[in-house]
């Protein structure tokens, strides 16, 4: 094999491998993006059914209930305009509390309940998850516009 052919094979193999990985990466990327919706957007049916997404807002005061099995909890997330019931099975994060900001990731069930796989409320007591803060701000400015 001449050196030129050898180099050609190397370059072609490299390009082929790179395009395969690029396709793989971009495909994985596209199918795993998780979008964020505010409770108002969910109430307006802008959020997808049967696809994972995130919601954020405040945990409505007095809405936290433990279901009879003891480990499933239900609470309401609100952006002060609209609210969504959320169900979550598992232990809530340390800084989860009523009246505080929260972000939940999961799916919307046909009955309108958001079933969360993951609940985030992190780092320190005064910190508001940026997504939750954005949801409140959007609802606030929507009200001002009316």
């Amino acid at each position: 094999m001449k050196p030129r052919h050898r180099r050609l094979i190397l370059v072609a193999a490299g390009l082929a491998a790179l395009s395969i990985t690029a396709a793989l990466v971009l495909n994985a990327f596209r199918s795993n993006l998780v979008f964020f919706f505010t409770p108002t957007q969910v109430a307006d049916r802008e959020a997808p059914v049967n696809k994972t997404f995130r919601i954020g807002g405040l945990v409505e005061k007095g809405s936290l209930k433990h279901l009879p099995d003891g480990v499933t909890v239900q609470f309401v997330v609100t952006d002060t305009a609209k609210s969504i019931p959320v169900r979550y099975k598992g232990i809530l994060p340390d800084l989860f509390s009523e009246g505080k900001g929260v972000v939940a990731q999961g799916r919307l069930e046909p009955d309108g309940v958001f079933v969360a796989h993951q609940v985030l409320a992190k780092h320190d007591a005064n910190y508001m998850p940026p997504d939750a803060a954005a949801a409140l701000k959007a609802a606030h400015s929507a009200r001002l516009a009316q």
């Binding site: 050196p3 050898r6 180099r7 094979i9 190397l10 193999a13 490299g14 491998a17 790179l18 990985t21 793989l24 990466v25 994985a28 990327f29 199918s31 795993n32 993006l33 998780v34 979008f35 964020f36 995130r54 433990h66 003891g70 480990v71 099975k89 598992g90 232990i91 809530l92 340390d94 800084l95 990731q105 780092h123 320190d124 007591a125 910190y127 940026p130 997504d131 803060a133 954005a134």
Partner: protein, 662 residues
């Protein structure tokens, strides 16, 4: 008074850094020996000044001087002494100071271990590091001064974030930063090579030990961070693909590619411009990591707006350092040349493929980390990229990389023969495929991922054994085999060990992901729960008073088949100063499994939610990292780096003798 001394030391250090950045580089360009000679003393003085500044800040923490704003924000009189010391790097300003101090420490190390280098190389390396140091010192002094006074001083401080009050967090940031900053040495060597146009095997040999040591620290730093997340965050996850973690993982991936590429440059003279590019990228990603974590951009892209000076300064510094080095690279790379040619089947090509895979992996992490930030900054919507993306990308990228890891050390340089390799490796392949198929069946559950993981781990071990046997093939007796092993360079053992570390790591990940079990249950005193053959019994709940927290503590007794295994005491703490709740999980750690108990919310006065987990082989994840790091250290201390140093020092006459002896 003390904080002012610290601030003065920082200002002086900036002046010295500027001198170090300008004079030696200019001297090297003009061939002026006197200007070049400034590099070493300047770096040493800078290290002394920064060590003094760091000591001043530490003193302010230890002495509870709340008139220093940074101390007031990150400490408290009730904080135990060890956390008052580590509080120094508990916030933005202090961690930037730590970063710069470590940079000065690396420069100091370069002045000590560069006796064998030509003077112009030392001048350029230290000059480039001086530029980096000057940039960071200016950043600290103009936007993030840790010594700013807060008058009148508050009676007490706001306390350190309870999550950081942990032994793991004591060691994690310094280790991680040692790694980040250590790549600045590799970067400086790369830039010096571009400036001088000298990029040969000798250059790679000088640069290699520094890169290996930096890589070792980064490996340890990441492992410590992951272990911290595992036991402090309370839920037993050890890697979340969180942007903060990704920020440290990207330089690791590129750094790993760099140490392999450097090996080729040293042994064969190939991959030269690629090596230089990797060195630039590894440091650029280290900078990006520091900035991502420290600028607050992750909490919110709009955090930039809180202190626009900080954000803009960071961006300018980053763009200037990375941009100018890439421009220099583009201008000079043709002069460096590509190096020796090699065949499609050869050790070079397998290392090249590994390099490409590692770089693509780093790029895919970069995409997943920065894309959501970019979208948010443009106001184009909020998205997040979760673990499923990274899992989907990493397994197909890393599986061939691990496969090649077994082939590479056996393939010959320049041209290898495929049939010969196949003969060498057929048993290793058969054993690993058999293990991948059969082991999971023995262990109880078969899934493609478990099969693949175990097969890859066995593959690495089996090929390592084959590589070792090849080394000893011509040994006729036990004595000659021993002599061969003794004459094998330490760098080879380093590689051997680091690769075995990967196998240990893969076993840990596969077994933990495949066979972990967990249950969330409600429990009161006397209740029991069964999991994977272990019985967890709640004995009772009590109140505990800590130095700066109060806690509710459960006693959980664990038995297996009636025999006692352990008593665990998980807590829910309230840190009194910030009234912040925190879960303190209890772990019974063993080499082959962890028993992990977390106390959740109270349902009423006597009933609590408890999460119990059985985690097989989970400690192997960090054990694997430790083995990799030890491998890196072994390689870095190889005799030929030291011998080269000794020969230079010994003078010309002895060089001839040494060469004759070789």
């Amino acid at each position: 008074m003390i904080p002012e001394i610290g601030q003065f030391a920082l200002s002086l250090a900036l002046a010295v850094a500027l001198a170090q950045a300008i004079l030696p580089l200019a001297g090297a360009a003009r061939g002026d020996a006197a200007w070049m000679a400034i590099a070493r003393p300047a770096a040493r003085v800078q290290f002394a000044l920064l060590a003094l500044a760091f000591a001043c800040l530490t003193y302010s923490f230890v002495a509870n001087d709340f008139s220093v704003a940074y101390v007031a924000e990150h400490s408290n009189t009730s904080l135990p002494l060890v956390y008052r010391i580590t509080g120094v790097w508990g916030g933005h300003e202090g961690s930037m100071l730590l970063w710069t101090t470590l940079l000065a420490a690396w420069m100091f190390a370069v002045t000590l271990f560069s006796g064998h280098l030509p003077e112009d190389m030392v001048a350029r390396v230290l000059g480039v590091m001086g530029i980096v140091s000057a940039g960071f010192l200016a950043f600290i002094l103009f936007t993030s001064d840790p010594f700013t006074r807060l008058l009148p001083a508050p009676p007490n401080g706001r306390d350190l974030n309870p999550l950081l009050q942990d032994p793991g967090m004591v060691a994690h940031p310094p280790m991680l930063y040692m790694g980040y900053v250590g790549f600045s040495v590799a970067f400086a060597f790369a830039i010096a090579a571009l400036l001088s146009g000298r990029l040969d095997a000798a250059w790679a040999r000088w640069s290699r030990p520094w890169t290996l040591v930096a890589w070792m620290f980064l490996t340890l730093g990441i492992a410590l961070g992951s272990a911290w997340a595992y036991y402090v965050l309370g839920w037993g996850g050890w890697w979340f693909w969180d942007p903060v973690e990704n920020a440290s993982f990207m330089p690791w991936l590129v750094g790993t590619a760099l140490i392999h590429s450097l090996a080729v440059t040293e042994k064969r003279g190939s991959f030269r411009s690629w090596t230089v590019l990797l060195a630039i990228c590894a440091f650029a990603l280290s900078l990006l990591g520091t900035f991502l974590v420290r600028s607050g951009v992750l909490t919110s892209v709009h955090a930039f707006a809180v202190d626009p000076r900080r954000g803009v300064f960071i961006l300018i510094l980053f763009a200037a350092l990375v941009g100018s080095s890439l421009v220099l690279y583009a201008a000079r790379t043709a002069r460096i040349g590509l190096g020796g040619s090699f065949d499609v089947v050869s050790r070079e090509s397998s290392l090249l493929a590994n390099n490409v895979l590692l770089t693509v992996a780093a790029a895919s992490v970069l995409l997943g980390t920065l894309y959501p930030l970019a979208l948010d900054a443009l106001g184009a919507g909020k998205i997040s990229v979760g673990p499923p993306y990274f899992d989907a990308v990493f397994v197909p990228l890393m599986a061939p990389a691990v496969f090649l890891m077994g082939v590479g050390p056996l393939a010959r340089w320049k041209r290898a023969s495929l049939p010969e390799l196949a003969v060498l490796l057929r048993w290793a392949l058969a054993v690993s495929v058999a293990c991948g198929v059969l082991l999971p069946l023995v262990l109880g559950r078969w899934s493609p991922m478990i099969g693949l993981g175990l097969a890859l781990a066995v593959w690495v071990v089996a090929t390592s054994v084959v590589t070792l046997r090849e080394r000893l093939r011509h040994a006729s007796s036990a004595a000659s085999a021993w002599a061969r092993l003794r004459s094998t360079p330490r760098a080879w053992y380093g590689m051997f060990l680091a690769h075995l570390g990967i196998a240990v790591f893969i076993v840990g990940v596969t077994m933990d992901k495949g066979y972990e079990s967990q249950k969330d249950v409600r429990m009161q005193a006397g209740d029991t729960v069964e999991l994977s053959g272990y019985t967890f019994r709640m004995i009772g709940i009590s109140k505990v008073q800590g130095p700066n927290f109060t806690a509710t503590q459960a006693q959980i007794e664990i038995t297996r088949g009636g025999r006692p295994v352990a008593n665990l005491y998980p807590q829910r703490r309230i840190y009194t100063v910030q009234q912040m709740p925190m879960t303190d999980a209890a772990i019974n750690a063993g080499l082959f499994r962890h028993l992990y108990v977390t106390l959740g919310d109270p349902l009423n006065a006597t009933t609590w939610i408890v999460r119990v987990q059985v985690r097989p082989f989970v400690s192997w994840i960090w054990l694997g990292c430790l083995v990799m790091a030890i491998g890196g250290l072994l390689s870095a201390t190889d005799r030929r780096y030291r011998v080269a140093a000794a020969i230079r020092r010994a003078g010309a006459a002895e060089i001839a003798v040494a060469q004759a002896a070789r």
